[in-house]
C-alpha cells in the first residue's frame, strides 16, 4: 500500500465499449486502493459506457468521437496534469490488468524514484504470455528499443504503467497516438526520464484468435517500428525534460 496519504493518484481507465467490464474494473481498483481517484475515459463508446461510468461515480472524461487508445490515455494524463496528481496509472477497461498489480507498480515507482514503471509479463514467466506472433514481435521491439535507448526493456507493449509527475507533464503534452506503448518508452527515455520495469501477471482478454491476426501483427510491427524511427529523427519537444 502507498505510505504517503497525501499522495494524489489518478487511475486512468481508457474504455471503448467496455460497459460490461467497467463495474468489475472500478470495483477491483477501489478494493485495492480506495483512496485513489478513478478517471474513466470514454473513447466515443456506443454501448452506454458513459452511463455506467456515471453510475459508478468516477471522474468521467467523455470523448465525443473515438480517438483510439493513445488519444484516450492522453486525455486522462491532461486531466491528471492539470489537477496536480503525483502519479497516473493506466488500467485498461477490458479487465486485462489486475489492479492489485497496479498497487505494486505505484510502490515500485515510489521506492525506486523512477519517472515511470512498466509492468512486465516477461521478467518472470507468470500469467498470460500472449500469442506466438505477438511474442515474436515483442522480441523485435525489445531489440530495437534496447539498441536505440541503450537500456533493456522486456515488455515494450505492456499498457500497465505508472507515471510520475515528470512523465505525466511530458506525455500530457505529447503522446504517441497510433501505436503508443513502445513509442512511449522511447519518448520517455529520449527525454532523459528514468523508466524501469517490474514483473506483473496479466490475464488473457476474452475472445478467439484468427489467422488474420498474424497479418495484423506483422503490419503493426512495421508501423510501430516506423513510428519509433521517425521519433528518433526528431528533436526533443521544448520543455520536455522538465
Amino acid at each position: 500500500m502507498t505510505q504517503d496519504t497525501k499522495l494524489k493518484v489518478l487511475v486512468v481507465v481508457p474504455a471503448f465499449n467496455e460497459a460490461a467490464n467497467l463495474p468489475y474494473v472500478v470495483a477491483a481498483v477501489r478494493q485495492h486502493a480506495p483512496e485513489w481517484d478513478i478517471a474513466v475515459v470514454d473513447d466515443g463508446s456506443t454501448d452506454g459506457t458513459a452511463e455506467v461510468a456515471r453510475s459508478l461515480a468516477v471522474i468521467l472524461l467523455r470523448l465525443p468521437v473515438n480517438l483510439g487508445i493513445g488519444g484516450a490515455v492522453q486525455t486522462g494524463l491532461i486531466y491528471g496534469h492539470r489537477n496536480g496528481y503525483d502519479i497516473c496509472l493506466q488500467v485498461d477497461g477490458d479487465g486485462q490488468h489486475d489492479p492489485a498489480e497496479s498497487v505494486r507498480l505505484v510502490d515500485k515507482l515510489l521506492e525506486s524514484g523512477a519517472d515511470a514503471v512498466v509492468g512486465s509479463r516477461f521478467l518472470t514467466e507468470t500469467g498470460y504470455q500472449s500469442t506466438f506472433a505477438r511474442r515474436l514481435g515483442i522480441r523485435i521491439l525489445r531489440s530495437v528499443l534496447g539498441w536505440l535507448t541503450g537500456e533493456p526493456i522486456t515488455d515494450p507493449t505492456s499498457g500497465q504503467r505508472a507515471l510520475g509527475r515528470r512523465a505525466i507533464a511530458l506525455l500530457a503534452g505529447d503522446y504517441p497516438q497510433e501505436y503508443p506503448e513502445p513509442e512511449v518508452i522511447y519518448v520517455l527515455r529520449k527525454h532523459g526520464l528514468r523508466l524501469i520495469e517490474t514483473p506483473v501477471k496479466m490475464k488473457a482478454r476474452r475472445g478467439g484468435q484468427s489467422s488474420i491476426r498474424v497479418l495484423h501483427s506483422v503490419l503493426y510491427m512495421i508501423k510501430v517500428l516506423l513510428a519509433i524511427f521517425i521519433h528518433a529523427t526528431r528533436s526533443p519537444v521544448k520543455g520536455g525534460s522538465v
Binding site: 471522474i59 468521467l60 467523455r62 468521437v65 480517438l67
Partner: protein
C-alpha cells in the same frame, strides 16, 4: 516543332474554362476558403493560357527532348498533382491533431463542469 491540332486545342480551352468556372462558383458560394483557392485559380489560369498559346509548351517539350508536347504536359500535371496530394496530406494530419486536441479539451472541460455542479 509540332503544332497542336485545332480540335484538341478547342477541347483544352473548353475544359480549362469549365475548370475555372467550377473554382469561381465554389468560391462565390463560400464552399472553398480563399486561402485554398489560390492554387486552383493559378492552375486553372495556367491551363487556359497553355490551351490558347501552346507554343511555350511545345518549345519546352522540344528543348527537354519530350517525344510529343502532351507528354511534357502530363509530366507537369503529374508533378503538380503529387505536390497537391502531399500538401493535402499535411493539412489532413494537422487537422487530425487539432481535432484530437479539441475533443480532449471538451472531455476535460465537461468533467470539470460536472464536478463544479456536484459541489
Amino acid at each position: 516543332m509540332s503544332t497542336t491540332p485545332l480540335p484538341i486545342q478547342l477541347l483544352a480551352v473548353a475544359a480549362s474554362l469549365v475548370y475555372l468556372y467550377c473554382v469561381v462558383a465554389a468560391l462565390r458560394r463560400s464552399r472553398m476558403a480563399v486561402r485554398q483557392s489560390l492554387l486552383w485559380i493559378v492552375s486553372g489560369a495556367a491551363f487556359l493560357v497553355t490551351s490558347i498559346f501552346p507554343q511555350p509548351l511545345i518549345w519546352t517539350a522540344d528543348k527537354f527532348g519530350f517525344e510529343v508536347p502532351s507528354n511534357a504536359a502530363f509530366v507537369v500535371w503529374l508533378l503538380a498533382l503529387t505536390a497537391l496530394m502531399f500538401y493535402q496530406s499535411l493539412t489532413t494530419s494537422r487537422q487530425t491533431a487539432q481535432l484530437k486536441t479539441l475533443c480532449q479539451e471538451l472531455a476535460v472541460l465537461h468533467a470539470e463542469l460536472e464536478q463544479q455542479a456536484n459541489k
